[in-house]
């Protein structure tokens, strides 16, 4: 199993405060990996640093290449893509333009195929393609953010809290789509507070607490881990109420 993304001994600091400490992580080809943890554990910070938005010390390799020195734009060119927590859409531009810009770096012919693929994944976006991104509902904006990222045909899609602030029925829709991405050959690194949903679709999981990984393993094992169940899944196994 070759690692598509390999992060080794990563530290990320805001001034003197270390938000992420000695974190190592791997995502393989065609794998869905999730990082779960409470608010403020450092999950978003880690994703942003992998993308190059925040400075990181340690090692980040993608598709066998060291990308630590690369700017955000050049990391995008290697096939790494981030759907950030705040989505960062182009609010005063329409859906189609947002998607077209997602394919800014790739050839026109490839972009045409990307359009088809994204519209198949999210038929809603096709209906709304002339609407301004800023006027879409929360769920549609999330779909657009994911669609825009997919337009660039990434090898790995990093999703930061895709379910944040969305109605349960839309969350189910988004998670179903994440599952479909694997079939399309896209690996996913998913950061979620909705641990239950995340663990259901993921192959492997990391549990983050106060800037460090305290647990990792196959998602099914993590889901049945007593400590995780108590802290993140909102219920305790009988007889294990004290940990």
């Amino acid at each position: 199993m070759s690692a598509l993304l390999k992060v080794t001994d990563a530290h990320v600091a805001y001034g003197k405060v270390e938000a992420v400490r000695a974190v190592s992580l791997e995502v393989a080809d065609n794998e869905i990996v999730t990082i779960i943890g409470a608010n403020g554990a450092g999950k978003t910070t880690l994703l942003n640093a992998i993308m190059g938005i925040l400075p990181l010390t340690g090692g980040v390799a993608f598709a066998g290449k060291d990308i630590l020195q690369l700017e955000i734009e050049d990391r995008v060119a290697t096939g790494l893509s981030l759907v950030p927590e705040h989505r960062e859409l182009f609010g005063t531009m329409n859906v189609e333009d947002n998607l077209q810009l997602g394919a800014f770096r790739i050839a026109k012919a490839v972009a045409a195929r990307s359009f088809e693929r994204v519209y198949t994944l999210f038929p809603r976006l096709k209906e709304r393609r002339k609407q301004l991104a800023g006027t879409l509902s929360g769920g549609e904006q999330q779909m657009l953010a994911m669609g825009r990222a997919l337009m660039g045909a990434p090898k790995l899609l990093m999703l930061d809290e895709p379910s944040l602030g969305l109605a349960p029925i839309i969350v189910a829709d988004i998670f179903r789509t994440i599952g479909e991405l694997r079939a399309a050959g896209v690996s996913v690194l998913l950061v979620e507070q909705n641990a239950q949903a995340a663990l259901k679709i993921a192959d492997r999981a990391y549990v983050m607490e106060l800037g460090e990984f305290i647990l990792n393993g196959p998602a099914s094992e993590i889901a049945t881990n007593a400590r995780v169940a108590a802290s993140y899944l909102g219920f305790t196994h009988e007889g294990e109420s004290k940990i």
Partner: protein, 346 residues
């Protein structure tokens, strides 16, 4: 007041206003994309105008040398910036843009200068020279500061303005110059006399605004520029380089500035430092447009031009005072209307 005079003043105001509109649009564009308040916009105007006037007089303008010199420094910066991963393609690209381009422009200018060249060639050469200066100004001054605050960028902008104005004095001297008109034709509509030059001002302004509108609405690079203005992080996340957007914005701004200068230098005598005041009026229009709205800026520019025309008729000593006073009620209204002070994100 009689109607004829009023019509004259309105006509004069609209001609000036059209120029301010172009400059205001350039300011809004540059600010939206790079957060730079482009004080040196006025220098683009004077450089364009006086380069054109110098070429028309059959001399070699100093701005062509400036473009080459700035290119050499930019080449050095590019090599230094990419020193970790110097490969042939990067060096070749930097060489082509920073050395070959300005040298080619210089050679062309040298070739044509002194001969009895047609006006169109002189205009094209002036635009090319100032465009190169605008491009390198971004590379030398603003690209290295791209991550700093609006205030730092503003201070750099003032510095660039002073430096370019000083160079303008060196190149063109302290005397004012005029350039030849694009067209000497004139015709009367009722009491109003329309000169070919004023028609050229309207036509080129409208053509440029339509052109910009098409560029931003239809082309991928135009959309990328808008995207950078709307959401810088979002743009970077889809792989749009902030530096590329900055370069395009500065290129457009310098061409617009130079073109404005070329359009007015047959009408008014321009000195090496006149551009600042002209740019400032475009700036007022841009401020009235809140530094975001293109249509509002264009309308405000026409108002600024008209107010200027009327005040130069009734109280010519206070002409500038009255024009710049326009900004006060706008600022008061804007500060009252603004719901809260937005924190600067980056």
């Amino acid at each position: 007041m009689n109607t004829t005079i009023m019509l004259f003043l309105v006509q004069d105001g609209i001609t000036n206003g059209a120029i301010y509109a172009l400059l205001g649009l350039a300011l809004v564009l540059v600010f939206a994309v790079t957060r730079v308040i482009l004080i040196p916009q006025g220098e683009f105007v004077t450089f364009g105008a006086l380069t054109y006037a110098t070429l028309s007089a059959g001399n070699m303008p100093g701005t062509a040398q400036l473009a080459v010199a700035m290119g050499v420094v930019a080449f050095g910066l590019d090599l230094f910036g990419g020193r970790r991963s110097l490969h042939l393609r990067l060096v070749a690209r930097a060489f082509a843009i920073n050395i070959l381009l300005p040298v080619a422009i210089y050679a062309l200018t040298y070739w044509f200068a002194g001969k009895n060249t047609p006006i169109a060639v002189n205009i094209a050469l002036s635009l090319l020279i100032v465009a190169a200066i605008g491009l390198f100004l971004y590379r030398l001054v603003f690209q290295p500061l791209a991550h700093t605050s609006v205030l730092v960028l503003l201070i750099a902008s003032v510095g660039a303005h002073l430096a370019l104005q000083g160079l303008g004095l060196v190149f063109f001297g302290a005397e004012g110059q005029r350039g030849p008109t694009i067209s000497d034709a004139a015709f009367m509509v009722g009491p109003l006399r329309f000169t070919g030059q004023s028609i050229a001002v309207y036509a080129i302004t409208i053509a440029f605004i339509v052109g910009l509108w098409l560029f931003f609405g239809l082309t991928l690079y135009g959309k990328a520029l808008r995207a950078t203005a709307v959401n810088r992080l979002g743009a970077r996340l889809v792989g749009i380089r902030t530096t590329l957007s900055g370069q395009i914005a500065f290129l457009l701004a310098s061409v617009i500035g130079a073109l404005s200068g070329i359009l007015i230098v047959p009408i008014t005598t321009l000195y090496y430092d006149t551009g600042f005041l002209i740019g400032l009026k475009g700036f007022i229009a841009a401020i009235i447009g809140g530094l975001v709205s293109y249509p509002l800026t264009a309308v405000a520019a026409l108002v600024v031009g008209t107010v200027e025309a009327f005040s130069s008729f009734y109280a010519s000593n206070f002409k500038e005072v009255i024009v710049f006073t326009l900004i006060l009620p706008v600022l008061v209204l804007r500060s009252l209307a603004a719901p809260e002070v937005e924190e600067e994100k980056d």
